[in-house]
């Protein structure tokens, strides 16, 4: 687990470094450093208190958006039941999957921030914008793939050992970030 976390953060810092190579996207860099620090904090926090406070940590990330929409669309009792069942169902997922979820959410948030930044400032060094966003989307997608493969409830991947899945994930990330480093110019 610890190795997992270290690897994940390594991946992260590499993607952040890629983005910071180009001076024009310094704001991106700051946003990402902010996020990475928050990520570190949350991961450390989580790894210490994971047994006690799963729901508290994860409800804001995964459920809040849906909650509001449900309120607007369907009647309240149904929505509350849904949220409750979602929350209880999600609480049952193993810890390592939750870490991956956090990682995915973080990557998507970084991508969204970059898109918003692009909308405000403009997309002039288009290759750095593209590589920044696609780096985040790519890490998110690969993490989702990893999550699919190590999830014990997926019967299709029962004979695939999680070590193999993680090795594939690291390889794919390596290729992705080599390409991004190259594309950044």
């Amino acid at each position: 687990m610890i190795v997992n976390i270290v690897q994940l953060t390594n991946q992260f810092s590499s993607s952040v470094l890629d983005i910071s190579c180009e001076p024009q996207v310094f704001v991106n860099f700051f946003a990402t450093t902010f996020f990475i620090s928050s990520f570190y904090v949350s991961v450390i926090f989580f790894s210490y208190f994971s047994e006690n406070c799963q729901c508290v940590l994860f409800s804001p990330f995964s459920d809040s958006g849906k909650q509001e929409l449900i309120m607007a669309k369907s009647n309240a009792s149904d929505a509350q039941a849904l949220v409750r069942s979602l929350r209880s169902a999600y609480a049952a997922t193993p810890t390592n999957l939750k870490i991956i979820d956090l990682y995915v959410v973080f990557a998507i948030a970084t991508a969204i921030i970059q898109v918003v930044y692009m909308g405000i400032v403009g997309s002039f060094p288009f290759n750095s914008f593209l590589s920044g966003v696609l780096s985040c989307v790519g890490t998110a997608v690969l993490a989702v793939c990893l999550r699919i493969q190590v999830n014990k409830e997926n019967k299709e991947f029962k004979d695939l050992p999680p070590e193999r899945a993680f090795a594939d994930f690291v390889l794919c990330n390596l290729v992705l970030h080599l390409v991004i480093m190259n594309f950044l110019g």
Partner: protein
Amino acid sequence: MAASSETKGEGTLRKAFGGVLGFFILLLIGALAFSIRLFSVIKYESVIHEFDPYFNYRVTQFLTKNGIYDFWNWFDDRTWYPLGRVIGGTVYPGLTLTAGSIWWLLNNLNIPLSVETVCVFTAPIFSANASWATYLLTKEVKGTGAGLTAAALLAMVPSYISRSVAGSYDNEAVAIFALIFTFYLYTKTLNTGSLFYATLNALSYFYMVCSWGGYTFIINLIPMHVLLCIVTGRYSPRLYIAYAPLVVLGTLLASLVPVVGFNAVMTSEHFASFLVFIILHVVALVYYIKGILSPKMFKVAMTLVVTVGIAVCCAVLAILIALVASSPTKGWSGRSLSLLDPTYASKYIPIIASVSEHQPPTWPSYFMDINVLAFLVPAGIVACFLPVSDASLFMVLYITTSVYFSGVMVRLMLVLAPAACIMSGIALSEAFDVFTRSIKLQLPKLFESPGSGDIDSTQDEVVKVDNKAATDKSETAPKERPSKKNRKKEKEIVETTIKKPPKAKRLLVLPLEASAVAILLLIILGAFYVVHCVWAAAEAYSAPSIVLTSHSHDGLHVFDDFREAYAWLRHNTDVDDKVASWWDYGYQTTAMANRTVIVDNNTWNNTHIATVGTAMSSPEKPAWEIFNSLDVKYVLVVFGGLVGYPSDDINKFLWMVRIGGGVFPHIREPDYLRDGQYRIDAQATPTMLNCLMYKLSYYRFVETDGKGFDRVRRTEIGKKHFKLTHFEEVFTTHHWMVRIYKLKPPKNRIRGKLKKSKTNSKTNPSNSKRHSNLRKNPWQ
């Protein structure tokens, strides 16, 4: 099925034997694919063929001489004079880099091959690779037996041979391999759900993007398949792993190739993949929530997710439409549009329509190019549906789309060929499977009953041989199914056979005689295919088109006029002289004669080509002015009237008029047609008879036979005796196929009679001397 009844030890031994046999069969298939493409070297010589390969050859030479960094930054000032062309940024580098690295590797191993040799043999080597990739792909879809059959069929399919004979050094040679290999890795990822194969898939897609513009076919076909899987309810996590990393990595890798660049995210050809990417994520989320919720709760969530999904889709659609409207290319590029709407090119872009390989094919060309496969394909499609899997669904989609595309452009017949081979391979192998199994089941009965033995004894031998091969196939076939789903299916099949063996067997058993005859017929069909393929490789597709041959009653004639003309240019003109010709001959002129040309086969600037077309279709004086303004010293025309070479400039002339008229409206096509007919005899219009192309082609033509009979158009020419005032003939090849003219310098203003006669008398002797040399007609 047979393996299940046998003991385990025997089964593994036979499996190993089948594996070794399969390996050697694959080796032989590779050797076959390589050697069947060597007819052009044996019958002619080891030369680069046609037009585009000369450019690729020249680029490869530059790459091997100057290295990769100079190659990326290469600005070529010897084409498109005065504009030049940035080669590094406008060329698909896959082929050149492949051949360059092969050359580099061989040289480092102390095998001193010339660059030309490597270029000549690149295409055969890669067609062997392509047949192996076909084996892998078909194995993923339908098992080893079908794979071997498909690989053998692909090794000699005429459509692919036409683009990959030795010397045909073109992008398609490596691109077809890359295409099949990408599809193989996609189906492999789909079957295993391994991220490792997904990475390889993205890299192979990158190689495809490097080598051919046809990569858009992949990036549209795979999303279509994903969408089809989702719609038919076949979504699985494996599908997500196969597709989502491919889009992200593939887009990034594609934008690394300079010729694609930001087009990978800016043009509409790629938008389908992004749209499906988003849809896939929505679907994946739905499946995930369905997995963790109870069915009742899921119903509640479903309404929510559907509304959110629709809202997101609408937003994305709006963004996409906005992007399409504002994108620099205004959506689709010309070639892609002409794929969707077959009449688009002929309506709007004459320069695309003028290329013969962009025309729609005729029915005989299907029979010529894929032969008996055309009849086997429907059977293969049926076989794909029998137990439908994700991979077989993909193949069905591939064959359907490629049939459509091949109907639009002859050139895309090449994309159809692998699909047809795979389908026919599946059909043949399934048919053999059924027939041999029914024979195998009935043979013991045959030996028990006495009277019939002597009648069928000869057939039995044949059958036994087939039987052996087929058992190998059928045993190795069902072993490679790692995914859970397929395994389940297999189990089911096995279970059914165990539960009710007599019923299952009786369903598939055909009468002995019928199956024996059917096997014989199938073998004969295969034999016909082989004979046709060898004939096509030897006779139809091996001509290098720069050296022509013809058989007549007095033996073999070789027409080597093109190289004669280019050699003359190389040795007798100044290094910086500019040569004007129609764009077909641009690549050859730069590569073989090393002279600067005005336009070439990379038709990136329509106006420039139209300028040359206008000059060719103008009378002599305006043409001289146009050429002089372009700094042209020599004009090269190809003329086949003397020897009957049909693809000469007079036959292409109407396209010059159309392309020229598209930019310069004073050139009007009806001026060159008499009552809608294109003719060059006495009925031709005066505009036609006075245009530069007519004059340069038929100048002094009447001196050959006294009548001026054109063997291509099969008429006597309209205007026989005329003189050129602004051009002078400097060289005409042995068979008059290439004629080179020099622009005369502008005349002095002094018009004294004395001077004129003097210059005449001065120039005449040398001219007449040369003319007397040229006047010799080889046919008399």
